[in-house]
Assembly symmetry: D2
């Protein structure tokens, strides 16, 4: 059974809004509103153990997961939340071994999540232009133990003469104007590779989708992800009062190649859209058979 050692990162967990991720040091006593957490009480104990604060509150010492590192990352900018990270991973079929290009490192929490999945043979190449953000990101990635699977470079992809990567499985864009780098992303992607962009506003989705269509991307999906928590309690089960209204929208697409010879015959693809009106249409045929 794995024991907690000095210098391990530990998540001290009181409740969902009171939890602290820190490196364990034998002499450290950490002051909180629910009492003092004495680090030496957990050293040598198995992960998951409960300890008591001096105020008699129970605190659990958990082994941090990537979820915890993401939620507790130091933030230079708005982070991408697990609900969005998760759907992105599933929607593009992110897997161990993938080569990822990330344009816009931000706080590095998305980078950390990506690296944790593509490791050990895959890699994340991440590009940003803000050295202050990059310094924070570097710390977050290192804290989560993912530095080995990430290469961070200061480079403005928008103006770069030559693309620094090619044959990427996925290009992820987290910029205010993601449509600007669509051609660059296309060059770095392998055939039928996935493009993803973080778009906090509807206007970004609209501009980006237009740019994707113009640059021979297909299977374009724009979406928002909503997680609603449920309080499951004996005889009183209901959704939580607490909710988050919005974090970001996300756009997905796959790089395709339409030869010029086929372009001519290209016609608008019929979208399989269900009209809400159909729901009520079932009786129409019957109405025509009314007899007296």
């Amino acid at each position: 059974m794995e024991k907690i050692k000095p210098n391990d990162n530990v998540l001290f967990f009181y409740n969902d809004s009171k939890k602290w991720l820190m490196r364990v040091a034998p002499k450290q006593k950490f002051h909180t509103h629910v009492g003092i957490i004495d680090h030496k009480k957990v050293i040598g104990k198995p992960y998951g153990i409960a300890i008591k604060t001096n105020k008699g509150k129970l605190i659990f010492a958990l082994k941090p997961t990537i979820y915890d590192y993401v939620m507790k990352s130091q933030r230079s900018t708005q982070i991408v939340y697990p609900k969005d990270l998760g759907y992105i991973a599933a929607r593009i079929g992110l897997q161990s071994g993938f080569k990822i290009v990330e344009i816009g490192t931000g706080s590095g929490s998305f980078t950390t999540f990506l690296a944790s999945i593509v490791k050990p043979k895959g890699h994340v190449y991440t590009y940003d232009v803000d050295e202050n953000f990059m310094a924070i990101a570097r710390k977050n990635i290192e804290k989560a133990g993912m530095s080995k699977f990430v290469t961070m470079t200061k480079l403005d992809i928008k103006t770069a003469k030559k693309m620094p990567q090619k044959d990427a499985d996925v290009v992820i864009v987290d910029l205010g104007d993601p449509w600007v780098v669509v051609p660059q992303a296309r060059k770095m992607l392998k055939g039928s590779g996935s493009f993803v962009a973080i778009c906090p506003t509807m206007n970004q989705l609209e501009k980006l989708a237009a740019a994707l269509r113009q640059n021979d991307f297909f299977d374009i999906e724009c979406s928002e992800q909503i997680v609603r928590t449920i309080e499951a309690r004996d005889g009183k089960t209901r959704h939580s009062f607490r909710a988050i209204g919005h974090t970001t929208y996300v756009a997905f697409a796959r790089k395709v190649t339409t030869p010029a010879s086929l372009r001519k015959i290209l016609e608008p693809v019929e979208q399989p859209e269900v009209e809400t009106e159909e729901i009520e249409s079932s009786e129409d045929e019957s109405l025509s058979t009314v007899k007296k």
Copy 2:
């Protein structure tokens, strides 16, 4: 640039509801409502290439992702959808290298998703009791190329005398009565490891949450995941008419250990619940300062 070879799995994509995942064979001609897809037209071409059916419709030949394998898996039972798979992955911090125990193999699509992330050094141990389901699951897992990272065993975990695994990072349960195997899951998990269960009904969530609390699990979260697609079109951006109302709820928890000596002092943890009523309460203090 990667070329399509005979026997490759290819996703032929017309639109989001007309797409076919199949093994490419030089002599195969596949009949669809939008015309015949002639396989030999794509062999030797790069992934992402468009071809024309005999009816003049464009079809793209994409390299299937795990998303495509999940959505196109042969189904013995209801599958877990990408929106739920993704949030599970992000919520538990699923990463390459994890050891996973899956109780209830079902159609094997969840197994495939898990294996694609934990590979190459992690592993999924999956258990089921229905040989028919297992045969289908085996085919789905193999088609996606994940067999090497999965061990499938016929075993009823509910009645097993001895647990077949220990020190798992994650135990995932997809049974109709997930609460029954909570003690078994606990035995197989490492300290502070994650428990996940697929619960299509509110009643399952309620029974399971009670069992988790009784078996020293913590950080219990029940949730539902909703993905709403958005049609991003110039000047006409709006949510899609089409929607899915429900697939499943999901329950999460982490294994903890509360020593008997601390149990006595255990008191109900204050949940950080926001009352909706608070939203309107801001003026109350002002009201008390009314002066005439």
Copy 3:
């Protein structure tokens, strides 16, 4: 107890997607997929009675409500759905006695709903330019018995020299370009009266909100209304699989008057927006008190 009489409108209800609203005639036999409904079986019976079709299926004869008239209205254009109608009514505090101006009569189902609430002393003045739509609307309003409380006029409010109404409690706009009639709506509204517009796209909301701010409207709220049905069944309660992804967004505002003398001091009102990031910030103060 109220009995069904010849010429009454009756809703024959088999299930939620098989129901028919029709005028009862003694000799009528209505053919449906679940058998023949013989009208004379219900005449003289109390509302709510079940009858049997010749195929042995039960059909209930219900007294139609305004909900039924809305859902069964003949449609020239997309209708406004009850989930949206209802929230509009509650959000603006629609009540019996109100004077309503409706710009864009459409199929008249919204008009019917409004009239059913403002009657008998209130009134709905509705304006449209398409005589074909107006003819259909007139039939729908008449069928629901609301003609007495509605005045329908062919008039293009966009180009009208003089506004046909004033001191309206509410102006409701259902046009493709609702921002065009904001000044006209303002003229017809009484002080602090409510403006409502049906906006199927985000782009309409954005343009309209700008126009409202420029025309001295306040308390602007844009929203979407979602109704999720729940299958409440013993031990198997869950949300319905069936769902509607989108019907329309709605914009609300109240007419205000900012005297020129106060405009100078006008500054952007601080919006009480909760940043999602705050959710995780609770431990920050504690972190600063770390001691070794």
Copy 4:
């Protein structure tokens, strides 16, 4: 143009979370965080006028709507929110002239909303057992000017020997155990009249739905209503960060009568449920036509 008079109720509106509903008095100066609101500045002015606080902030003086009275009602218990009130009104086709029975008066805000629509010829008969709640409710109803259309009685419907009303268009139940009064509600309803219950938990929905089915109610719908606000701003349109996760679920049903002679032939009605799995099934028939 309607002018503000002394003793009028006025909604002083700074922003959506800072607004105050109060009776205007010439000498009153109301202290708020955004400065002092001097009542005499609005007297004699038209509704909708802006005034300045001593801190230079703009406050609008609005004529309160029923929405404002509901949101600002003094609360003895949790209120029913406009998003739920509105959907209830639309779903049951609530209209002017209806006779309503309300079991559980609560804070009287729902009563106020109902009365504002059914007036002047309709009426709300409301029953409660808690005199303290009733006193608060009476004040809220009176403040909104609805007393004339409401009869409030102290009576425990659960144990009443004789029902105090009959032929109601609608019976609304807001009790913790709504299933207990289903037979009583049935007695007070007219044929095919509507039953509504406020159910904050899934367990209540489940028990109530069973009771409704056992008591010859039909067209049972359980639902939750969600309103998501949207910040419509030039080039930055997106959903609000702020959200409410849950208020209540609502159950609807209509009273029907199945004669004993027909009961025998009663069989489960086929529900028009769409399986999510169908979404992916479109290619199946094509697969069977594969040719080599």
